[in-house]
């Protein structure tokens, strides 16, 4: 057996099987401007130290958030990570393990996953959770497909206030399926227009997605939403799936209490650094009725032959390695190490600490919001309740303020117009986590005041 992968003959055979003329045709979906043309510009040989020095020079041009005061969030947050997280994570028993394939010999790993699932289920107010997903966006897309399959209705309603990156992932997932994604517009308060929602729900609508808080940081009115959904006749009522910022659940009502059958989210702000925007860790929680359809691994608790507690991978018949092409998802893995970080983080905080975390975010964000409101030329874009993130209408284009603040060691936030269609170039999305001190917040407000006048 030859150990050389993909000989030219292999490639020809594979291309012929799928009806493609050239290897290049496989990459046609990748935008031309980000494709590398020709080989990497690396000299044929260089001394190790020369390479290291060059790379360090490149790295030094980065502005990592750790060395600055950051107010950039938009889905990935600069929160405090207690040292205990790294200490546990770096133990080789955990650090070197992958998703458990020879599952039941890895009792320790299974137990941590079970704890993760229990905590996520508790936080979201739902019956159970899976062992994690790659990230929040793929978790959302998987669940949108799951619910259209479950309801046999092909229309997905996605809010205008959904994180645009998550929306792009959703659109990619459904692009080759017979599914339709329809946007529910926002009302003048920056939240879902519930009257428009009611008119968009027809007998083909399988799922309504909601992001709570939405991409602009605003808290959606879930009580009114639930009333609207309950007022619809059953044949027009979609299932509700909520993408939730888990930290907000320290102060907000959990999705299970306002009618969501599925809650997904991004776990990064529960004990992980921002990295470079990833790796991330998504979660999926659901009610009992959907357990056989949810993607990913599930760990269950049981008893061994001597009556001692043990952990197993359960309901694997949902998964691709058994159900093959009929599986509802091709995810047969989990983000075990990052889910462990979340587990350690939540355990370290405890329920009281977690509530305090959410309160700190809320209070600090409003300290900044209130200060910015008082600055001449500045306003908050919406006078709507927000959690730890909000949109500032600035006197100058947001991109100019962001560039100016950077030279003062401050990451001001996100230039909304560059990421969200229909936003004004003066709109700046600002996030405040528990990590920001009052002094940093006041410093930033004063800096904005100075920069705004120029």
């Amino acid at each position: 057996m030859p150990y050389v992968q993909h000989t030219e003959a292999d490639q020809r055979e594979m291309l012929a099987a799928i009806g493609k003329a050239r290897l290049e045709d496989l990459f046609s979906a990748i935008p031309a401007e980000i494709r590398l043309r020709g080989p990497l510009g690396i000299p044929p040989g260089a001394a190790e130290y020369d390479v290291l020095r060059d790379l360090q020079g490149l790295a030094a041009r980065n502005h990592p958030a750790g060395g600055m005061i950051s107010f950039l969030g938009a889905g990935i947050y600069d929160g405090l990570v207690p040292s205990v997280v790294g200490a546990i994570l770096s133990r080789s028993e955990f650090y070197t393990a992958y998703t458990p394939y020879q599952a039941e010999v890895s009792q320790g790993t299974l137990q941590t996953i079970y704890e993760f699932q229990s905590m996520i289920a508790h936080l979201t107010g739902l019956d159970l959770a899976n062992a994690s997903m790659y990230d929040g966006s793929t978790a959302l897309a998987e669940c949108a497909m799951l619910l259209t399959d479950h309801t046999h209705r092909r229309r997905i309603l996605a809010p205008a206030g959904l994180n645009p990156r998550w929306r792009a992932v959703l659109d990619t997932y459904v692009s080759d399926l017979d599914l339709e994604v329809v946007t529910v517009p926002n009302g003048p308060d920056g939240r879902m227009d519930l009257a428009a929602l009611a008119t968009l729900c027809n007998d083909g609508t399988g799922v309504l997605l909601l992001q709570q808080p939405n991409f602009f940081g605003l808290v959606e009115d879930t009580t009114a939403l639930q009333r609207v959904l309950q007022g619809l006749p059953a044949e027009r009522r979609p299932e509700l799936a909520v993408a939730v910022d888990p930290v907000s659940l320290g102060v907000l009502v959990p999705p299970g209490e306002y009618g969501a059958v599925i809650a997904v989210g991004e776990g990064q702000s529960l004990g992980l650094p921002q990295f470079f925007g990833g790796p991330l860790v998504g979660f999926v929680a659901c009610d009992r009725a959907h357990v056989r359809k949810i993607p990913g691994r599930l760990v269950g608790a049981t008893q061994d032959s001597e009556g001692r507690r043990g952990y197993v991978l359960t309901l694997q018949t949902r998964e691709q390695h058994i159900r093959r092409e009929k599986a509802t998802s091709n995810i047969c893995t989990n983000q075990a190490l990052l889910a462990l970080a979340v587990t350690v983080y939540l355990a370290a905080l405890g329920e009281g600490g977690f509530r305090e975390l959410a309160h700190m975010c809320l209070v600090k964000a409003h300290r900044l919001g209130d200060a910015i409101r008082r600055l001449p030329g500045y306003a908050l874009r919406w006078d709507t309740p927000y959690f730890r993130e909000f949109v500032v209408r600035c006197p100058r284009p947001a991109r100019d303020l962001i560039a100016a603040a950077k030279s003062h060691g401050v990451v001001a936030g996100l230039d909304l117009a560059a990421h969200m269609p229909g936003c004004d170039e003066r709109d700046l999305l600002v996030a405040v986590t528990e990590k920001r001190s009052d002094a940093e917040i006041d410093h930033f407000a004063a800096l904005l005041g100075r920069l705004g006048g120029r």
Binding site: R292, Q316, T317, I322, R323, K326
Partner: protein, 131 residues
């Protein structure tokens, strides 16, 4: 040896079909042989009552501890009733495949299709061949 009652019709997919005396309704389940091969049934995904089935169309799934199989409609027609007891007690299929473990009752749309089903003798031959 798996039980194969004389008075029933069968499919290659190891389902049994009981056709009512007037030929208008069919009750469907999986055979004793099939339940023995699958082992303990842990879940049955049932169709909705009122759903229209085409012959050979997948109408649900049956799940054992380490495998899952599709259920195929042996005849075209409307689902009149599903065995809701299976939701809480799927092992009824193991314990009583031809009686309490029935899965769906169908109103037969195309009586001619019944001719495509296997007799008990034909089915017994299939499983003896290792089908």
């Amino acid at each position: 040896m798996a039980e194969v009652p004389k008075d029933l019709k069968y499919t290659e997919q190891h389902e049994w079909v009981h056709i009512s005396d007037d030929g208008t309704e069919a009750t469907v389940g999986i055979t004793d042989f099939a339940q023995g091969e699958l082992g303990d049934i842990v879940y049955v995904e049932l169709p909705e009552e009122g759903a229209a089935l085409e012959q050979m169309e997948s109408f649900g799934t049956i799940e054992a501890v380490k495998t899952v199989e599709d259920l195929y409609a042996p005849l075209s027609g409307e689902v009149l009733e599903v065995n809701h007891l299976l939701t809480d007690k799927p092992t009824l299929i193991n314990e009583s495949p031809y009686d309490e473990g029935w899965i769906v009752r169908i109103r037969i749309d195309k009586p001619g299709e019944a001719a495509t089903l296997l007799s008990a003798d034909e089915y017994r031959e299939r499983i003896a061949e290792g089908a």
